[in-house]
């Protein structure tokens, strides 16, 4: 927390300087209640024994401060902007501690509508949700971050440290073709870590996204396709619950190839909005021995949400959402359950998830969104029923 205040205090005097500087942010407060047993009793037993956290991600119990996000932007020149986004959030797996997290930190150079360059830490250009909504409750219609894009699970690469080129080409009838390609340090030894510096893995990740934008009277319709590739250097931890020292010469290094693809269709209109994304990701072990069945594993995830805009200026938004994540094998495969703590690497159980969600969002102002949401767990380890009230702010 001290670090954050230091950052803010250092930056405050800049607001009076000539360059364009602004500080904005968002936050949300939740209150939730969950009941009923988990749909998958066997998974629940495994989760209680080998799970990373006593609670599944996005589970709701009591009051919760998800966090506050501060976004600083500074226009260094007509064509260069700097963005730094930091987050004060509940510490991973904890209920009584906060942590300071860096979400994005990059310089962006605008050259022309067809080419822009940014370098630093940014959201990996995959699909729509990860690039545009991420965990921004204030911008999301529904309350919970889908497991597929949950940074704390790291199922797909949500952040990249590297360089990105993006832009758009005008087509006939105001249609546009937008693209983003990035190259970065890629995945670390465990899936939730970012390699901010000193990347010892010479393999660079590559991501490409292509999106066709159909102009509308109100907002746009978008169809997109994304693909990503990485080579991951990590360690073999054969069994769930096992911990090994990476300094131990008997701990076996493994190398795997990550290949992913996703499709998305998004419409945000005056009367209704639809967001649909599907992703598949394959890990193939290319060096080292792993447990039989772990040589090639596949993750599949889907998120689909529809909402209608009712009332004065569409302030009321009843919605439905469906989430599904199917992890490889019975335990998430040889990589997705790994967590590195200093020089000890452990393998945890990451469960499948399947949820049906309905709720209503209400915008009392441009800067606030209130939500009442009910979710039914169709699979996985969450309690079967959950109700959450969320107040989300942007400022």
């Amino acid at each position: 927390m001290l670090k954050l205040f230091t950052v803010v205090l250092i930056c405050m005097p800049l607001s009076a300087s000539a360059n364009e500087f602004s500080l904005s942010g968002f936050a949300d407060v939740n209150a939730g209640y969950q009941f009923g047993s988990a749909r998958d009793a066997a998974a629940q037993a495994m989760f209680e024994t080998f799970g990373l956290d006593p609670h599944a991600k996005s589970s709701q119990s009591g009051f919760g401060l998800v966090g506050t996000d501060f976004t600083l932007t500074s226009e260094l020149s007509d064509t260069v902007v700097y963005l730094a986004e930091v987050n004060l959030q509940v510490e991973r797996g904890r209920s009584t501690a906060f942590e300071f997290d860096v979400e994005r930190m990059y310089f962006r150079k605008t050259i022309n509508p067809m080419l822009n360059i940014q370098a630093g830490l940014f959201f990996t250009p995959i699909g729509y949700f990860n690039r545009n909504l991420y965990s921004r409750a204030w911008m999301m219609v529904s309350a919970q971050v889908p497991d597929l894009f949950e940074e704390e699970l790291g199922l797909i690469p949500t952040h990249t440290v590297g360089i990105q080129f993006d832009g758009g080409f005008a087509l006939t009838g105001n249609h546009r073709l937008e693209y983003a390609v990035s190259a970065g340090n890629g995945r670390a030894t465990d899936p939730v870590a970012n390699v901010y510096a000193r990347d010892d893995n010479p393999w660079r990740s590559a991501t490409a996204m292509l999106e066709w934008v159909v102009p509308g009277e109100h907002k746009d319709l978008r169809f997109g396709v994304s693909g990503w590739h990485d080579v991951i250097n990590t360690y073999r931890v054969a069994q769930m619950g096992e911990t090994r020292s990476i300094a131990d010469p008997t701990t076996q290094a493994i190398r795997m190839r990550e290949l992913g693809g996703s499709l998305h269709a998004v419409y945000r209109g005056k009367r209704f909005s639809v967001l649909a994304e599907a992703a598949a990701q394959r890990h193939t072990v290319i060096r080292g021995m792993v447990t039989a069945g772990d040589e090639r594993t596949t993750l599949v995830g889907v998120v689909a949400e529809a909402s209608v805009n009712l009332g004065d200026d569409g302030r009321w938004k009843p919605y439905v959402r469906y989430d599904r994540v199917s992890l490889p094998g019975i335990d998430g495969g040889p990589y997705l359950g790994l967590r590195l703590d200093d020089d000890e690497i452990s393998r945890f159980y990451i469960p499948d998830a399947q949820m049906a969600i309905t709720g209503v969002a209400w915008d009392p102002s441009a800067y606030q969104r209130l939500k009442l949401e009910y979710s039914l767990a169709l699979d996985g380890v969450r309690p079967q029923h959950a109700v959450v009230v969320q107040s989300a702010f942007g400022f």
Partner: protein, 149 residues
Amino acid sequence: MNRNLMIAIAVAATLASSSSASQAGELVVIVNKANPTAAMSKGDVRNHYLKKQSSWSNGEKLRPVDTESSGQRDVFVHKLLGMTSNEDLERYWLELKYQKAESPPKRVEGDGAVIKFVSAFKGGIGFVDAASLDADARSKVQVVLTLKY
């Protein structure tokens, strides 16, 4: 009888149309005189004013300018930008700041200030009442779209 009724309807229609004509406004979208863009469609205005594309085609920084609340602004926001409300636009700008590190437009007061802003910046784009464009203003800015309302 029928003929008298038809005459009455015609007179009423004429009066109504002349009345609405006198109340109609003409909003124009203006850009800097040095901007090579000669004309824009509604979609072009949306793409540029809302910074849906990162710059003008020649790489010039997009500099939209906004005004304080007015009936004319409401027409621009609803009919040209396609927003459901002024709050919808507020939310759009805040979202864009998070997503692309883009700043919302400068907000100035009155058509004179809009013309001054657009004439000062090569990448400027704004909207004013057509009647406020005198000869001096027309030497500094150019009209790329006209909207009657």
